[in-house]
Subunit: 334 residues, 2 copies
Amino acid sequence: MSQPRVAIVGATGAVGEELLRVLEERRFPLSELRLLASPRSTGRTVTFRGEAIEVEALDASAAPAVDIAFFSAGADRSLLAADAFVRAGALVVDNSSAFRMREDVPLVVPEVNAHDLDEIPAGIVANPNCSTIVIAVAIAPIHRAAGIRRAVVATYQAVSGAGAKGLAELEHQRRALVAGEPLRSEAFAAPIVGNAIPRIGALGDDGLSEEERKIERELRKILGAPALRVHPTCVRVSVDRAHSAAVHLELDRLIDREQMMAVLEAAAGVRCVEADLATPRNASGGDDVLVSRLRADREDGRRWDLWVTGDQLRKGAALNAVQIAEHWLDRRDG
Amino acid sequence: MSQPRVAIVGATGAVGEELLRVLEERRFPLSELRLLASPRSTGRTVTFRGEAIEVEALDASAAPAVDIAFFSAGADRSLLAADAFVRAGALVVDNSSAFRMREDVPLVVPEVNAHDLDEIPAGIVANPNCSTIVIAVAIAPIHRAAGIRRAVVATYQAVSGAGAKGLAELEHQRRALVAGEPLRSEAFAAPIVGNAIPRIGALGDDGLSEEERKIERELRKILGAPALRVHPTCVRVSVDRAHSAAVHLELDRLIDREQMMAVLEAAAGVRCVEADLATPRNASGGDDVLVSRLRADREDGRRWDLWVTGDQLRKGAALNAVQIAEHWLDRRDG
């Protein structure tokens, strides 16, 4: 089949820039690349494979004819413009939360549920929430092997989860702190340098933050486990670009350490690093989700603790979206 | 009774400096203050209540005659010198891990188990681990009200937990990062700026780190709950001086939100800050442990999640030690 025409909506954001990098690195086959963004970024040029591409304004009433459109410009723009791209013939891979819980939209982490790409009734595939992806890659193989009944999750989320403005704010605050200047906060509700902010998104009536609700609902959908109990606490930390989580699992079935290690070592997208420190700094820039600190409870072998960390902009966003497109192309052309 | 003579062993460390500040702020009654430290710091002078005090070398064979000795110079020095101070007539309040699990040594958070000061058979009272204190203050009132069966704990621990050298390392690395210089790590096993290190202390055969084992054992002893199940994951984060934790509790008995709020609002040393963000930056410099993000599980009202944060150098160390001494004085003089 012919190489696909590709568009990136939100090409100048933190995830958009990472999408360009991942498409280059993976030699993603494409015959044309259209870059779209808000009027603020229109007219800028971006270099892709040595070629300068001008950024166009996103116009929901005149979607370009492409085969794959990566959306990473926030839920509002996805709601506004995704349908136009679908009508113009594109598969939309949407990085926002706009469509994730829609029944006719697969929510896919390819290592976990690529089979959900068999049917794409609305022409849209949703890329899960970034911390959810990192956690799902690590725990899905455990779920397949021993059944996860309950997961208690505490996250350590990077500022890049709030996009380029989050990254800029941490850098700016580091400079201000070193210079003894006052800290200004816009991207986050409090200074993030030297801090931990235990709320990501607005709180609902049940006390869960938006981010926590995403982790709960999306993990259930991705794992195909509607009865899974999830107890998340989501925290923004002074880290640049990889998300981490401390995860406590209650399993249906006993699994010994040897089996657990075999399961994780065989899992796609996972790298066990028991011998070394799996820090977000080490995970940054890489494709794998790092898993370490794997511990069975001494008294109950169905309880396990682990630490996971993965690059939020790559596996948590851009890489996962490109992998979805690759799987879709394989199916289309296979 | 006469005002006590006081000694601080480890007077020039991060906790030692905070001890001096807390003794001043609380107008702790004392007739004499002796400051002791390692030979490196001997001869320095420290100002206390406007008076310059010279730092003396610690000599285990010639303990000064004091009534209260605060030890904060590491477990080795406590093991070496505490007995000499006891023999010379002092109550030793030890901030290290040296004596905490000894049956003849009370391990005390005054808001929780001041009654354990009724008997001090060895002349030593142990100050608990810093993250343990912060967590214990918050969950002890819940334990009294509804019984805690199990606690899953993920910590976000400040660099001050590693003392003055930890604080200096984060500051130095911030400057290096801003200046584009290489990061050097000595206090921690990896760069801590912009990072999270999921291991505090050496790992044991059961996979728990030293810090995790302390939280488990010390919580059981402080709460008087030997059957309590604790699942800790301890993580060092890029925060200066307050420790935080995401805590998931499984209770013996149902408790509704109104009761839970009443319990916490009546609890000494706790401040509920549901309306605001309870960040380690906000907790720093204060005496209270801040509690927020209090959530009952929607399906099981015996499961609660909460976020706690408290100043590691104050309530997590110096303040708690001074409070122990105050309670002891009350008993002695009462």
